[in-house]
């Protein structure tokens, strides 16, 4: 099996409970009441794309749709707005997942930036058609922040899979 060059280390199998835990944590982070800020990065989209890229067989389009629907109800947005954006995001993340893992993490962030931009653009178009208000130029910063968060999120979410397979007293983790 050809392994992507960027992964210099064989990863342990992922724990499904950890995947669920991080997805729910990201959803909770989106729910924290920090006020209305168009530039706020969407943690749910970020973690969804991450697992779409790294575990496409576990986290797919259907899950993204369900989380999007819950975000819509929480935000009081048009029902289906986040659901559509997350569905498209998830599909294109799964489409590019084989290619993306051959790159280094910073180049991955650059490649994922248009994806996040497109997701916000879908939300924007849906709301303009439905008669929403203009959100302000700060909305353009949200995908940039999401792409900037890609390296730290990759490091954190892959950390459990980087543990030593045979822990001893010198390598407790």
């Amino acid at each position: 099996m050809i392994m992507p060059r960027s992964s210099d280390q064989l990863l342990l199998p992922v724990n499904p409970l950890f995947v669920w835990f991080t997805l729910l944590l990201a959803f909770a982070m989106n729910l924290v009441p920090l006020g209305r800020n168009p530039a706020m990065p969407d943690f749910m989209a970020l973690v969804l794309v991450f697992w779409n890229v790294h575990q496409p067989r576990r986290v797919g389009v259907g899950l993204a749709f369900v989380f999007g629907l819950m975000m819509d109800v929480h935000d009081g947005a048009v029902l289906g707005q986040h659901a559509l954006a997350y569905t498209l995001l998830s599909f294109f993340a799964i489409t590019i997942h084989r290619r993306l893992r051959w790159f280094t993490v910073p180049s991955q962030a650059v490649q994922i930036l248009p994806l996040f931009g497109a997701a916000h653009a879908v939300s924007f178009i849906v709301r303009m058609v439905a008669g929403g208000m203009l959100p302000g130029w700060e909305l353009l910063l949200a995908p940039v922040f999401e792409a900037l968060l890609w390296p730290p999120v990759t490091w954190m979410l892959l950390a459990p899979q980087r543990r030593a397979p045979d822990p001893d007293e010198n390598r407790p983790l």
Partner: protein
């Protein structure tokens, strides 16, 4: 190097039972999302689905407010004495300013009641109110909404006006069992009939597309509106009780070519950072029922039926 068992993901990808392809799922989910949008915006069919999800999320939302409250509480703890002293001084100044008016209210109310009796007018409606707390501001940048912690179980109904001590904030637009969604006056879709206290002229105030304040629409180019005028609710809509402060006129731009004046308003109640609000009952619930038919007509019809 021999890797121990269980360190690599050894389950091979299934060859045949892969389920529907990603493209199929994409088509299905996108179609469902578009259907939901149409059902939500055009046909208003999605309230049951919203209610279920909102009720399920409600405890999580309440728990997640705790760390934010704790953070605010920590800064209160450090600056507590200073804040309390300044707030007390401000409150005392306000109280002194209001004392004269407050002492005259009782007398004026009695006088008003006697005058109304003298003129044989219907007694003025007293509005039932309910205090509520803002649960969170909806983070949706395309609208201006807040969620309050009272819902249909506490008797909140759709279209109830919401205000705080400064003036009208908005109107309840969606009700869930344990929470309710309030559309603020600065939202694009918000509209409120107002009365200029200086000229007693009626007009309608609307939210703007950019969310910066409000505007008076359809005002003639020579309309008597001046910067600094205070607008109150007029009470003609059967929802807002009359006489609650709404907004102040910021600027009047009289354009020659359009024939209309562009009147920008500033809501008196700040839209951001509010915590405690008062939910009023819509006036229409207390209005006497609309008479069905005049009595003579009913009598005539009965006679006609006998024949």
């Amino acid at each position: 190097v021999v890797t121990p068992l269980g360190t690599l993901d050894r389950t091979p990808p299934p060859f045949f039972r892969q389920g529907p392809s990603a493209l199929t799922k994409l088509t299905f989910c996108s179609a469902l999302a578009v259907f939901l949008m149409v059902a939500d915006t055009r046909f208003k069919l999605t309230q049951p689905l919203r209610t279920v999800v909102a009720t399920a999320l409600n405890p999580v939302e309440r728990v997640l407010r705790v760390p934010v409250d704790a953070w605010n509480g920590a800064s209160d703890y450090l600056m507590g004495l200073q804040n309390a002293l300044t707030q007390e001084a401000a409150a005392r100044a306000l109280l002194a300013k209001q004392a004269e008016r407050a002492s005259r209210v009782e007398q004026l109310q009695n006088e008003n009641k006697r005058l109304r009796a003298l003129l044989d007018l219907r007694p003025a409606i007293t509005v039932r109110t309910q205090p509520a707390e803002v649960l969170y501001e909806a983070s949706d940048p395309f609208s201006r909404r807040v969620i309050i912690d009272r819902g249909s179980t506490q008797g909140i109904t759709v279209a109830s006006p919401v205000m705080n001590e400064a003036g009208v904030l908005g109107q309840v637009t969606r009700v869930y069992p344990l929470s309710a969604e309030v559309t603020l006056l600065t939202d694009k879709d918000a509209a409120i009939p107002v009365l200029n206290t200086r000229t007693q002229g009626r007009s309608a105030a609307y939210g703007t597309a950019t969310g910066s304040g409000m505007e008076l629409r359809f005002m003639a180019g020579n309309a008597d509106v001046q910067p600094g005028d205070v607008l109150h609710t007029s009470g003609v809509d059967g929802i807002y009780p009359p006489g609650i402060a709404v907004a102040k006129v910021l600027s009047v731009d009289r354009k020659v070519d359009t024939g209309f004046a562009k009147v920008s308003l500033q809501p008196l109640a700040p839209a951001d950072g509010i915590r405690h609000v008062l939910v009023l009952e819509p006036l229409s619930l207390q209005m006497p029922p609309r008479p069905d038919l005049p009595a003579e007509e009913v009598v005539l019809r009965k006679k006609g039926a006998r024949k």
